[in-house]
């Protein structure tokens, strides 16, 4: 499951989480964002015990997007203990995402 970040719960849900959190920055008008949404959803099942999954709509939460300098979407950031441990810009295939996630989990 990919939880939708809302105003005010980013710190609680992402920065203070016990396990690493993947955050998908997206918007309605972004085709590639929509195209990776089902991939991210599927990954959230595959990695359910290792990672938390969240998404941030950059139109609804521009403050969070600008805090992390998001200038291109989709951008995926992986946080661990409040810090960014991995960043992916642009749509990727499921296999590419898996490699990136496995790398990030090794490094955490």
């Amino acid at each position: 499951m990919v939880s939708e970040i809302t105003k005010g719960n980013f710190d609680e849900e992402v920065l203070k989480a016990e396990i690493p959190v993947l955050v998908d920055f997206w918007a309605d008008w972004c085709g590639p964002c929509r195209s990776i949404a089902p991939v991210v959803e599927a990954l959230s099942e595959d990695y359910r015990d290792k990672l938390k999954f969240a998404k941030v709509n950059v139109d609804d939460l521009p403050d969070i997007a600008s805090r992390y300098g998001i200038m291109s979407i989709p951008t995926i950031l992986i946080f661990h203990k409040g810090k960014i441990v991995s960043q992916v810009v642009g749509a990727q295939s499921k296999a590419q995402f898996k490699n990136i996630l496995d790398e990030a989990l090794k490094r955490k």
Partner: protein, 312 residues
């Protein structure tokens, strides 16, 4: 652990952009047992633009997402089966083609249509990779709204560059279009719209030499190829539309590709191995337009039917 699937398909189509989906519609109607493998979401490069206004039958512009969705539904209606997996390898076993996906699943088919399309090409200048997602972008529809009120640069002069410039002009304060020749390549209609924009400046005969910044893009270096004069333009965004490259890495050394990686085919769209066909942007010498991708998809399906008759 590899997982072998028992079904034997008549046709496996790799890629679900307009070419692959059209091929699936025609193959489905010909009652071929058809599998479509797509690594992300059906639509392909279609999903990178906002609206389509040159696809016949839609007298008003149609959203690219809607068009992609309609293609997919139509293919499903005629029985094509969709799988969201990336094909990593094709091998041969007598008449059968064996496809192995990133998920380590193995599918058997009598024929293959490669419709994997293409992705944007990079400029290959210093700073481009470093600032990807920090001001460097290859998709106006994705990132344009994030540059509201900012000064940006667009690189290119073909249809995609012009279309994206028009889209971006809604958001940007000022756009500088950098083009390496002294005239644009895109169609006249788009050129007229470009020259009507009030917030556009064109730097003719110019190429980008580097992209500079600290945390994000701050300026681009450009050089006039006629005068050799160099200058720096302050900007927050660099949108690059300088052509496409085919997605054929997984086929390299397996079938004939041209020097740029596009698949070389004969007049029936057959690749260099019998039973393997190609259509759409991935194919050499093709007109990179949706309507042509669709036409080639149909041609490929018919060629597959003909091929299957020779082996069944």
């Amino acid at each position: 652990m590899r997982e072998f699937r028992d079904d034997l398909y008549d046709l496996a189509i790799i890629g679900a952009g307009p070419a692959g989906l059209s091929c699936a519609i025609y193959a489905g109607r010909a009652k071929l047992k058809t599998l479509v493998l797509e690594k992300s979401m059906p639509g392909g490069q279609l999903l990178l633009t906002e609206q389509i206004e040159n696809y016949p039958g839609f007298s008003e512009p149609v959203s690219s997402q809607e068009l992609a969705e309609r293609f997919r539904k139509q293919a499903e209606r005629f029985g094509a089966q969709f799988i969201e997996e990336e094909v990593m390898e094709i091998s041969l076993k007598s008449n059968e083609k064996i496809l192995t996906t990133a998920e380590e699943r193995v599918y058997k088919t009598l024929s293959v249509v490669v419709a994997t399309g293409a992705v944007y090409k990079e400029l290959g200048v210093p700073g481009e990779e470093d600032f990807r997602g920090r001001g460097v972008s290859y998709c106006g529809t994705c990132d344009g709204p994030l540059f509201q009120g900012k000064d940006i640069v667009v690189v290119g002069g073909g249809n995609t560059a012009l279309q994206e410039t028009i889209f971006l002009s809604r958001f940007a304060k000022k756009i500088t279009l950098i083009h390496r020749r002294d005239k644009l390549r895109g169609v006249k209609l788009l050129q007229d719209r470009i020259f009507a924009l009030s917030n556009l400046e064109v730097k003719w005969n110019s190429v980008v030499t580097r992209i500079n910044g600290k945390l994000k893009v701050e300026e681009v270096g450009i050089k006039n190829v006629k005068t050799e004069k160099e200058e720096y333009i302050p900007t927050e965004g660099v949108f690059i539309f300088v052509g496409i490259k085919p997605q054929t890495e997984f086929l390299s050394g397996f079938i004939n590709l041209d020097e740029n990686g596009f698949i070389v085919t004969d007049e029936t769209l057959g690749a260099s191995i019998k039973g393997i066909f190609a259509c759409g942007d991935v194919r050499k010498d093709n007109l990179k337009q949706i309507v042509n991708a669709c036409a080639e998809g149909a041609r490929a399906a018919v060629a597959v039917e003909g091929y299957l008759e020779t082996i069944k």
